[in-house]
Subunit: 169 residues, 2 copies
């Protein structure tokens, strides 16, 4: 059985290996590639216990297959819009882990009353992610040309994607 639950600090030992491989792979995230495990964890778990942020894992039989973090995209006058980041163990690809984490993130934002969700930097060549977010209702608001230096594709665009969660939508 698999389930999505709040991440504990103990989960980092399972998250970190795939987190690090995904960053080092150079196709999806503009995170520093030379972080210690502790620095990377601090980036993923921001250390707060604020009600408006969360980090979850999708776990199957004690094995963590993916993780997502979520919370306000900006403070104060921008805090009604959420954002999220996702890491899925490449060994568990094609099994709907990203989709389930994405659905969880959308439901979490909806329950907390966020007005929308913004992804600020979806790499345009990461077509699996782009299609997944589109299936969840996200639209491409715009693309910053060449803003991501992909290891394999060179400079490619970063999509800003947005899902409206206001009641009338």
């Amino acid at each position: 059985m698999s389930a999505i639950r709040t991440a504990t600090l103990a989960d980092w030992a399972q998250i970190h290996p795939f987190w690090q491989r995904i960053v080092a792979d150079g196709e999806t995230y503009a995170y520093p590639e030379d972080l210690t495990s502790e620095q990377a964890r601090t980036l993923w778990y921001d250390g707060s216990d604020r009600r408006d942020t969360a980090v979850v894992v999708l776990e199957e039989d004690g094995r963590v297959l993916g993780s997502a973090k979520m919370g306000p995209n900006r403070p104060a006058r921008g805090s009604h819009i959420g954002t999220a980041s996702f890491m899925v163990d490449e060994a568990a690809r094609g099994r709907g882990v990203g989709r389930r984490l994405g659905e969880h993130v959308v439901a979490w934002h909806r329950e907390l009353g966020f007005a929308g969700i913004q992804f600020s930097a979806v790499v345009e060549t990461n077509t699996g992610a782009v299609r997944l977010w589109q299936r969840l209702g996200f639209e491409i608001v715009g693309t910053v040309p060449g803003a991501f230096d992909s290891r394999r594709h060179g400079r490619v665009g970063l999509h800003v994607m947005y899902l409206d969660l206001t009641p009338e939508s």
Copy 2:
């Protein structure tokens, strides 16, 4: 005479009053409004002496009229794109302070070899700023609807604006 120069820590005593008024005015920045002076300074001067970041002031006869901060928009695989933020004392509006700081920021990025400059959150009702960036060559890449909770206008869009600085452009 007025000139743009690197900001010193001593300049904060002059920057902070208008910085704070601009944030409290609630029309241009999604910064927290309850920061201490020290917290706000840390947000503006990130404390690093990295060659790829800078904070400047425009000073006239010993008086600081405005300030700009600039540097990479993202780390690592996004660090070839810069970004900047601007604060101009409202008592000095209409005198070209924002324009001169903007021109300085563009020249600084060009000299350091950045491929472009991204402004991620230009409030759409801040039409003076939008027009100024357009005059400097920035284009609106997209607009996240309702992403800024303006004190006077309610929820308004945040423009993502971009200026290409690659040699062929």
